[in-house]
Amino acid sequence: MTTNATATGIDAHDRVEVTVTVNGVPRSSQVQPRRLLSDFLRHDLRLTGTHVGCEHGVCGACTVLLDGAPVRSCLTFAVSVDGHELTTIEGLAAADGGLHPVQQAFRDHHGLQCGFCTPGFVVSACGFLAEHPDPDDEQIREGMAGNLCRCTGYTGILGAVRQAADELRATGDDPRQRTRDGATASGEEVSS
């Protein structure tokens, strides 16, 4: 598959500078034009919360927000997002560790087991709720049907998105924004 010469004159193995704003922080790295955004985030920027489950855009585990809209980072080249803003799972909890309302809802509803698909679901839910601030249950089910989970059977996930939708609508917060310090419990407490 390795075709070296391209119309742009850039060799597939050459490195290109990519600068993005990730979770509000400008980051840049030299990458090959063929490098996937998922690999760029995970291995170049070491933001390993974004996971890769299928590498062909079906499972949704690698979902990140590109200028506020959910995209599959495994189907996106890093060079194609140069100059854009990204939000990853690491950009949602408060600096003090307090969970984002969507994250807290996943915990409250046992919406995760192994946790591998979870970042994709949480980020997808944030994008979905920004678009649909007042969803009915069927819209939530459809909205979460772009992500695969093998553990939970989705029951807890759907309940979590319901709770988060209600809470975010009450506060009026943009679901894609990082949670403020002290806005939620630290997330480390063990509630019963």
């Binding site: 489950g53 969970l99 915990r107 087991q113 979460m144 939970t152 059977g153 029951t155 019963s192």
Partner: protein
């Protein structure tokens, strides 16, 4: 502590970290490691004529390439046959890299190491392997035709034949008032966890030590295998199963070729090396399960009581048989379910095919067994015109008959013996939960509108908590933290939370003070693994026993310090205190400090344990005979028998009359796994299991063509259910504690998946009137069967 932590639905301590994206899965580690790509066979069956590296060596970033010929002698030996059995007379296992012949698509042929995976794949695709293709054996029936051998020296393709019998099944069938015989099939499927396989090795040349991270359900056994293949002492090898993105059985298989190759190459190169499997690789090179063909003969009386049952089945174990006969043995025994069978004969052939090998996938032979038994009961009910729940009730073992020994041998080599349960009680709960008796009216009302409704149910018994053992270590640190470890690893079952509940309950400490580590051989080197719904039973009880020892030690120390009889003391709120006089107490962390006689006061708290501050009896040794320093203990739980959980599912479906699309309406589960440590976690296991059961019934299959090519090796074509395909599930628990272990726990991990195909098949049959004898079933298959049925009537 006023309320018990055992049985409390506490939120999981694992969650905040995983939700913030701070999980540590294997591929999250080793950013600077070399990465590998594996050249895999594109043929189901072929001889390797030649391997030409071509211009692979010129690829930028390439480090090295290995084929079978490059391996040291020890690595040229076949991988282990993990579970030998006397009937497994023709066992074959694969090599870490193919030795001149490949037997399934996806078999490892060459290993490429490069600076990153991109370069490794560049090089891998330049390697030209010249194959001489051979005819492929696909499907269990083709295997038994024996016109083509998978392995040259096993002409009949049969690895093992096993027969078990109680009573005289054939005579009982011959004498029965009614007899039926029929065939039942289940197709291949697979675990498909969201995280694929992964292994990362660090060789420390200075210390001559290997650290291996692997996404495995059996880290202690991986460690032992790697030490053996690499010629290292166990003391030189540590294996860590970090966060694991689901297992569902496939990750109990070990050692994978990559689990041996990656550490070997890391040592050869003196550099970290990592393997992260991609999804397509996972479909063809990680193991599958389920495919079996069953022939059933049953004799019964007018009430539907089974007088004799004879089942002969063929188990397709794929190209190799590394896990022995576990899956078909489980089918053979667990098929019986909650019924009293006194004349039962079962035989199976375990056969080779040129497809990906088979090892347990959640349920491990039980979904097939349940499908066979429950479809049989439904046939009896249909034949006699009786209600399906009545026929089940007529066959149940009664609570007072338990424990009940069937006279069969289970998968652990021990007696097949049900310890507890209340099957009639479960059935009455299930009927209420799904409103079984009200269904006829619902069906009639739907029929009046031209809609097809059906209801089905299926019952199972699940042997859980198989031996040989697990262990637990509990340590109270002088800072008050409680460190708990056990050797088996976690794949999302909430072990950190459940095990913390068990330890905190025994020690009277805050749950937040308990820190649990699983699957790290540095912390606990003895373990068996996470499979067979055994972690809560085995490690849960081991941790309970270890915590009890710690409790007793704390009481001894506090009794001396407070000069109060130990029987008058209790552990609560992080203290040892006098019963009825809670102001007289000593903090547990102080007891921990006192448990370790000191010379040096390295901090303020330590002063109390130093030799002039706490002189003790001048005529006795500071560490009393039989004692050891530290407030800690290790214990093991090793049961004589498995403990048997059970349950029943009922499902209502609607079949579209025009498209034969199946929509699930109600889904009800009654489940008895004994004492519940954490009901939320147990429910989560059930919900997830049901989703896999639905997938196995309606969507998921490994579609091999006759050449042994897997036609649907991606999530685009292998239809794992999304949220839109999984129904809401109503759950009711029945708790009959196991008498076999101190906590009364029975396993819960696999239960949810077991009866799915059987119950859904029954519901579809009820809705359409078409006999369903093979699963999974797609709308087009169902439609074809409905058309067939219509044309023959």
């Amino acid at each position: 502590m006023t309320t018990s932590l055992l049985g409390a639905p506490v939120a999981r301590s694992e969650d905040p970290r995983l939700l913030r994206g701070e999980g540590r899965f294997v591929d999250d580690l080793g950013h600077d490691a070399f990465e590998v790509a594996v050249v895999r066979s594109p043929h189901a069956h072929a001889r390797i004529v030649d391997i030409d590296l071509g211009d692979a060596l010129e690829v930028d970033g390439l480090i090295s390439v290995y084929t079978f010929d490059d391996l040291p002698e020890r690595l040229r030996e076949p991988l282990p046959l993990l579970i030998p059995h006397p009937s497994l007379t023709a066992g074959r296992t694969q090599h870490v890299l193919a030795d001149g012949e490949v037997n399934h698509v996806g078999e490892a042929v060459a290993l490429v190491v490069a600076e990153d995976r991109y370069a490794a794949e560049d090089a891998a695709e330049r390697i030209m392997v010249d194959y001489d293709p051979l005819p492929a054996v696909v499907g269990p029936e083709r295997a038994l035709q024996a016109d083509q051998a998978v392995h040259d020296d096993i002409a009949d393709n049969v690895a093992a034949h096993l027969e078990q019998e109680i009573g005289d099944a054939r005579a009982a069938i011959a004498d029965a008032a009614h007899r039926l015989s029929f065939r039942l099939d289940i197709e291949r499927s697979a675990s498909t966890p969201m995280e694929t396989r992964g292994t990362y090795a660090r060789w420390d040349a200075d210390d001559q030590r290997l650290r291996l991270y692997s996404s495995t359900q059996a880290p202690t056994s991986v460690r032992a295998a790697v030490a053996a293949y690499l010629g290292l002492d166990l003391a030189q090898v540590e294996c860590i199963a970090p966060d694991i993105g689901g297992g569902f059985g496939v990750k109990i298989m070990h050692p994978w070729p990559e689990e041996i190759l990656v550490p070997w190459v890391a040592r050869e190169l003196g550099h970290d090396v990592k393997f992260t499997e991609d999804r397509r690789e996972h479909f063809v090179s990680a193991n599958h399960e389920r495919a079996q063909v069953h022939q059933v003969e049953v004799g019964f009386d007018d009430e539907g009581r089974v007088l004799g049952l004879d089942v002969e089945f063929v188990h397709d174990h794929g190209a190799y048989i590394p896990y022995g006969l576990i899956v078909p043995i489980i089918t053979s025994t667990q098929l019986i379910g909650p019924y009293k069978l006194e004349n039962y004969r079962v035989t199976f052939d375990s056969v080779y095919t040129n497809t990906t090998p088979v090892t347990p996938y959640r349920g491990a032979g039980r979904p097939q067994g349940c499908f066979v038994m429950e479809r049989t009961i439904d046939r009896i009910a249909a034949h006699l015109g009786r209600d399906r729940t009545e026929v089940r009730a007529a066959n149940f073992l009664q609570p007072e008959e338990l424990p009940y020994d069937f006279g069969l041998v289970f998968q652990d080599g021990r007696a097949y013996r049900y310890d507890s349960g209340d099957f009639p009680g479960s059935l009455s709960k299930l009927k209420e939960l799904i409103d079984w008796d009200g269904f006829a009216a619902r069906k009639a009302a739907a029929a009046a509108e031209g809609r097809l409704l059906g209801i089905g149910l299926a019952a199972y018994v699940e042997g859980t908590g198989v031996g040989p053992y697990e262990g637990g270590h509990v340590l109270v640190e002088p800072n008050g933290s409680v460190q708990v470890s056990t050797g088996l690893s976690s794949q999302g079952q909430g072990h950190q939370t459940a095990f913390a509940q068990i330890a905190a309950e025994e020690l009277g400490v805050d749950l937040a003070d308990v820190k649990v580590v699983t699957g790290d051989t540095r912390r606990f080197p003895y373990a068996v693994g996470t499979f067979a719904s055994r972690a809560a039973v085995m490690s849960g009880n081991a941790i309970h026993l270890a915590a009890r020892k710690v409790r007793e030690k704390a009481l001894r120390i506090a009794s001396e310090a407070l000069e109060v009889d130990a029987e008058d003391l209790e552990l609560a709120d992080g203290k040892v205190r006098v019963k009825g006089s809670p102001d007289t107490s000593i903090d547990l962390n102080v007891v921990a400090t006192m448990s370790n006689p000191l010379r040096y006061a390295f901090d303020e708290a330590a002063r109390i344990a130093t030799q002039f501050t706490q002189p003790g009896d001048p005529n006795a040794p500071p560490v009393a005979e039989g004692e050891a320093p530290g407030l800690e203990a290790t214990d093991y739980y090793s049961p004589i028998h498995s403990t048997f959980a059970n349950g029943m599912h009922a499902v209502e479906v609607e079949v579209d009359p025009d498209t034969s699309d199946v929509r699930i309406g109600r889904y009800a589960v009654v489940h008895d796994c004994g004492t519940l440590v954490n009901p939320r976690i147990v429910e989560g296991q059930i919900f997830g299991g049901v989703a896999q059961g639905v997938g196995g019934a309606l969507y998921e299959r490994m579609a091999y063509d006759e050449h042994g090519q897997l036609q649907n090796a991606s999530f685009m074509d292998f239809l794992m259910p999304y949220a839109t395909e999984v129904p809401r599930v109503d759950v009711d628990h029945l708790e009959t504690p196991s008498p076999l272990n101190p906590l009364g726990i029975k396993g819960a991990g696999e239960a949810g998946v077991i009866p799915g195909a059987a119950a859904i098949a029954a519901a579809i049959e009820d809705a359409t009137g078409v006999v369903i004898d093979a699963m999974p079933i797609s709308p087009s298959q169902l439609h074809a069967r409905r058309l067939d049925a219509a044309s023959t009537t």
